[in-house]
C-alpha cells in the first residue's frame, strides 16, 4: 500500500507517488485509443456517411428522372389519344362521305328508274285511252247504224260517223 493513501483522510488525488503510474497508463491509453479511432472507427463511419449521402443523392436524382419520364409518358399518351381522336374523326367523316356518295348515286338511279317507269305508264295509259276512244267511236257508229237500220232510215256511213264523232266531242 502506498503510505500517503492509508495514512488518513487525505486526497488520493494528491498522492504524488501514483502520478507516474497514472500518466504512463494514460499516455498508453490515449495512443491506443487514438489509433483505434483514427485508423479504424472514424474512416469507417465517414465512409458509411458518405455512402449514405451518395445513395440519398442518387436516389433523389433517380426519383427526379422517373418523374420526368412519367411526365413524358403522360404527354406522349395525351398526344396518342389526340391523334387517335383525329384519326377516328377522319375515318368517320370519310365513311360518311362515302355513304353519302353511294346514297346519291342510288337515289339518282332510283329517280331515273321511277321517271322511266312513269313515262312508260303514261304512254301506255294514253295508248289505252286512245284505243278506248277508237273503240267507243266504232261501237257508237255501229250502234247508230243498227238503230237507224231498225228505224229503216237509210243513212250513209260517212255522215253517221261525222255525226257520232261530233256528238262524242261535244259530250267529252
Amino acid at each position: 500500500m502506498a503510505d500517503a493513501a492509508t495514512s488518513g483522510p487525505g486526497m488520493p488525488q494528491l498522492d504524488l507517488t501514483t502520478f507516474s503510474n497514472q500518466i504512463f497508463w494514460l499516455v498508453v491509453t490515449m495512443v491506443v485509443l487514438y489509433f483505434i479511432m483514427s485508423r479504424v472507427a472514424l474512416p469507417r463511419i465517414a465512409a458509411v456517411l458518405a455512402d449514405r449521402r451518395g445513395t440519398i443523392t442518387s436516389d433523389i436524382a433517380a426519383a427526379e428522372d422517373f418523374k420526368l419520364k412519367a411526365q413524358e409518358a403522360e404527354v406522349a399518351y395525351n398526344q396518342a389519344l389526340a391523334d387517335a381522336r383525329t384519326e377516328a374523326n377522319r375515318i368517320v367523316d370519310a365513311a360518311k362521305a362515302e355513304m353519302q356518295a353511294e346514297l346519291d348515286v342510288q337515289l339518282a338511279k332510283a329517280d331515273a328508274e321511277i321517271a322511266a317507269r312513269s313515262a312508260e305508264s303514261e304512254r301506255r295509259i294514253t295508248e289505252i285511252r286512245d284505243n278506248a276512244m277508237a273503240m267507243v267511236s266504232d261501237v257508237s257508229n255501229d250502234v247508230t247504224k243498227e238503230i237507224l237500220s231498225a228505224f229503216d232510215v237509210k243513212a250513209d256511213a260517212r255522215s253517221v260517223t261525222a255525226a257520232v264523232s261530233a256528238r262524242l266531242k261535244g259530250g267529252a
Binding site: P9, G10, Q13, Q22, W25, L26, T55
Partner: protein, 247 residues
C-alpha cells in the same frame, strides 16, 4: 477496503485510491486499477465506434446510429466552434471526447474507479491540449499569434493592461480546464459515497439517503456527459484561438 465497521466511519475518498491490481507497490509501470479502467474505457469506446458500426449499413442499426451520432456531434462541434480548417484535428478531438465520456460514464458503475477524477490524468490531458495548441498557434501564425493578447479593438492606453489580463487568463486555461473535470467527477462520487454511508448508518429511515443517492446518480449521469462535452468544446475554443488568433 471500505468496510463499515459500525458507526459513521465513512471514507468517501477511498474510492479514489490507486492500487496495484496484483498487490505490491505502485511504480510507474505497475498494472493498477487505473490500467484496468482505462483499458475498459478503450474497450467501451471501441465497442461503440468499431463494433457498433461494423456492418456499415446504409440504414443503420441502433449501435451504428449511436456511433454516427457521436461522430456527427463532435464533427459539427469542431466545424462550428473551431472553424472548417480545424477538421484535420477532428480525430484528436474525437479521441479526447471518447476517452473523457467513457471514463466518466464507466466511473458511475458502483465500485468502479473513475480515472478522470484524478488531477494527474486531467492535467496531462489539459496540458497536452494547451501545449499543442500554443505550439500550433506559433507554427501556423508565427508572431502574429501574439495578436491574441493584443486587443486591437480596445483604446491604445488600455491595451497593455488587457494584454496582461489576456496573458494571465491564457495560462489559467489548462488549470481551469483540468480542475473543472477532475473536481466535478471527484465531488459527485464523494458525495454519493457519503450518502451511501448514511444509508447504512441511519437504520429505519435509510430510504432518505437512498432516494438522495438515486437523485444524485441521475445528476451525476448528466454531469458525466456535460463535463465530457465541456472539456471537448473548450479544446475546440482553444484550437480556434490557435488557428485564428485575431480577435
Amino acid at each position: 477496503m471500505a468496510d463499515e465497521n459500525g458507526g459513521l466511519s465513512i471514507r468517501p475518498m477511498d474510492q479514489f485510491e490507486v492500487k496495484a491490481l496484483f498487490g505490491g507497490d505502485v511504480s510507474w509501470y505497475t498494472p493498477t486499477n487505473v490500467t484496468l479502467w482505462m483499458a475498459l474505457t478503450v474497450l467501451a469506446a471501441t465497442a461503440l465506434m468499431v463494433l457498433g458500426a461494423r456492418k456499415r449499413a446504409i440504414i443503420p442499426s441502433r449501435g451504428q446510429s449511436a456511433a454516427e451520432m457521436a461522430y456527427g456531434f463532435i464533427y459539427k462541434m469542431v466545424e462550428d466552434v473551431a472553424g472548417h480548417d480545424a477538421v484535420r484535428f477532428f480525430p484528436h478531438i474525437f479521441t479526447l471526447f471518447m476517452f473523457v465520456l467513457f471514463a466518466n460514464l464507466l466511473g458511475l458503475i458502483p465500485f468502479a474507479f473513475t480515472t478522470t477524477s484524478h488531477i494527474a490524468v486531467t492535467a496531462v490531458l489539459a496540458l497536452t491540449v494547451f501545449l499543442s495548441v500554443t505550439a500550433l498557434g506559433f507554427i501556423l501564425n508565427g508572431t502574429k499569434f501574439l495578436g491574441l493578447f493584443w486587443v486591437s479593438s480596445a483604446p491604445l492606453a488600455l491595451r497593455p493592461v488587457l494584454a496582461l489580463i489576456e496573458l494571465i487568463s491564457y495560462f489559467a486555461r489548462p488549470i481551469s480546464h483540468s480542475i473543472r473535470l477532475a473536481g466535478a467527477m471527484m465531488a459527485g462520487h464523494a458525495v454519493a459515497k457519503v450518502f451511501a454511508g448514511f444509508a447504512s448508518a441511519l437504520g429505519a429511515i435509510f430510504f432518505v439517503p437512498v432516494l438522495a443517492v438515486t437523485a444524485l446518480y441521475a445528476l451525476e449521469l448528466l454531469v458525466a456527459v456535460i463535463q465530457a462535452y465541456v472539456f471537448t468544446i473548450l479544446t475546440c475554443v482553444y484550437l480556434r484561438d490557435a488557428l485564428h488568433p485575431s480577435h
